[in-house]
């Protein structure tokens, strides 16, 4: 299982930088995140993995893919070939690393999970860090809006 997930992560990464059209890069990110969430879930952090999947894929990345889909590419292609070989080799190495470091991974069943405890700790003890992180995300959103607004307000545009 971890082999499949790691190859997803690595293959997604390869697709991101091999592809000539941005849409495939977005899809590569989707693959990579699927794999990463899977690895998280196998490691026992089921809640974190699912929430990452939900927010990153369902909320954020879909908008990215949406915008990338509007990019004008008449004959979109992803430059595969060598990338596939690199992917397989890399995935094998990554899978081995994961297997060795975690031993035999097993899916946790019903009951209280460690990651849920950690998340409640986020609200209880390190609330200041949570607020700081939220502020960072807010700044990020604000900056993106600044950068893509009209030229008159300082947009990041080539023309």
């Amino acid at each position: 299982m971890s082999f499949v997930l790691c190859s997803l992560v690595f293959g997604g990464g390869v697709i991101v930088f091999m592809s000539r059209s941005p849409y495939f890069s977005a899809l590569g990110l989707v693959l990579a995140t699927c794999g990463l969430s899977g690895v998280l879930m196998l490691g026992g952090a089921v809640f974190v993995g699912l929430i990452l999947f939900l927010m990153y894929l369902g909320g954020m990345l879909v908008v990215f893919a949406y915008s990338a889909a509007l990019a004008a590419d008449i004959y979109p292609e992803v430059g595969a070939g060598k990338g596939l070989v690199i992917t397989l080799v890399g995935a094998a190495v990554l899978a081995m690393v994961v297997e060795v470091s975690w031993g035999v991974v097993e899916v946790k069943g019903l009951g209280v999970q460690e990651d849920l405890l950690g998340i409640s700790g986020l609200y209880l003890d390190s609330w200041a860090g949570l607020l700081l992180g939220a502020f960072g995300l807010f700044v990020c959103l604000f900056v993106v809006l600044c950068l893509v607004r009209g030229v008159g307000r300082g947009a990041l545009r080539a023309v």
Binding site: G129, L132, G133, F135, G136, V139, C140, V143, C146, L147, V151, G152, R153, G154, A155, L156, R157, A158, V159
Partner: protein, 351 residues
């Protein structure tokens, strides 16, 4: 050239400052990373505040480099936490996280071999934004470097230091653009600064502050003179003779010539390295500074020595009333030329 909304500019500027302060106040790799990210992201709108294709290019390059650096820093912090189970930046680092963190800091501060973005980015910016880029933006990575300096092998950081001094000297030799010259001078000075970190972090901080003072003076002066390359510089005597003369002196101070402020840092660094019997490092640093001196002297030559011997036919600006006073510039010029004269009274405090 359109301008950004002043309120927006203010918000972004204060967020840039806030990001650096978060880095200063954090004792946790994650929040150090967060502060750096806030700092970088908020700086991006400032880069494109005065819109032109060059600034767009500069902002894109800056973003890519800084995002890579932040990602490496986070990875290093995570590996550190995974290996010794501590997020504390002052706890001793194992080699792999240390390498990642050093590469991240080198990218952030433009230490060779990760320095090539700085001249390009600086060339695309207005001088005042460039001032922030080459001073305030170096504070946070410098702080991280000081925090982890116990774990860094001495030879490594000293090598990086004199390498930076050499690259900063060589890179600037062929440049005629003021902002690229200042970028290479920044690289060279960062080299001097980090070379002394293993021996005396206080001295490194002092040298950084002196560099900040002098380079701020130069940026502000060139901003006042509306000068972006050496060819324009030769004209500036005609409309701001006093400022041009003082710019000449400040340039020499940046070069580190004795009666001026810039000599202070270099003097103390050489003294400290000599006390630690690190003679090769002194030799290479000074040789690197000699290379830098060439282009500082070229600025000086263009400013003062290419004037025609006749009287100018136009009215010199000092005979008309000054358009506006520039108090910060005046203060900075005094600081960046005369600090050496008052230094002995407070110098013992730094050791």
């Amino acid at each position: 050239m359109s301008k950004m909304n002043p309120l927006l500019y203010l918000f972004m500027l204060s967020t840039v400052i806030l990001g650096t302060i978060i880095v200063f106040l954090s004792s946790h790799w994650f929040f150090i990373w967060l502060g750096l990210e806030i700092n970088t992201l908020a700086f991006l709108p400032l880069l494109v505040a005065s819109y032109n294709p060059r600034s767009t290019e500069a902002a894109t390059k800056y973003f890519l480099i800084q995002a890579l650096a932040s990602a490496l820093l986070l990875l290093g912090g995570l590996l550190h936490a995974a290996t010794i189970n501590s997020w504390d930046p002052s706890s001793p680092l194992t080699p792999l996280p240390l390498t990642l963190l050093l590469i991240a800091i080198a990218l952030k501060m433009a230490i060779p071999p990760c320095h090539n973005w700085l001249p390009d980015v600086l060339q695309g910016l207005p001088l005042l934004t460039g001032l922030i880029l080459s001073t305030w933006q170096k504070l946070a990575p410098f702080y991280i470097l000081i925090t982890i300096q116990e774990s860094i092998p001495t030879w490594l950081i000293v090598t990086a230091g004199f390498f930076a001094a050499l690259v900063g000297g060589w890179g600037g030799l062929n440049q005629t653009q003021i902002r690229k010259l200042l970028a290479f001078s920044s690289i060279a000075h960062i080299g001097w600064t980090i070379a002394i970190i293993p021996f005396s972090p206080q001295l490194a901080t002092l040298n950084l502050i002196i560099y900040f003072t002098i380079t701020s003076t130069l940026f502000l002066a060139f901003h006042t003179l509306h000068t972006l390359n050496l060819a324009n510089l030769s004209n500036s005597t005609n409309f701001a003779p006093w400022l041009t003369t003082l710019t000449l002196i400040t340039t020499l101070s940046l070069a580190g010539l004795p009666p001026l402020t810039g000599f202070l840092g270099k003097w103390l660094i050489i003294q400290e390295l000599a006390l630690n019997t690190n003679t090769p490092a002194i030799l290479i640093l000074v040789l690197g500074n000699l290379l830098s001196l060439f282009y500082y002297l070229r600025i000086a030559y263009v400013i003062s020595l290419t004037l025609s011997p006749q009287h100018t036919t136009s009215t010199l600006a000092w005979r008309t009333s000054p358009s506006s006073s520039n108090f910060p510039l005046a203060l900075l010029i005094i600081l960046s030329t005369c600090t050496l004269l008052i230094s002995p009274s407070w110098l013992p405090l730094t050791f």
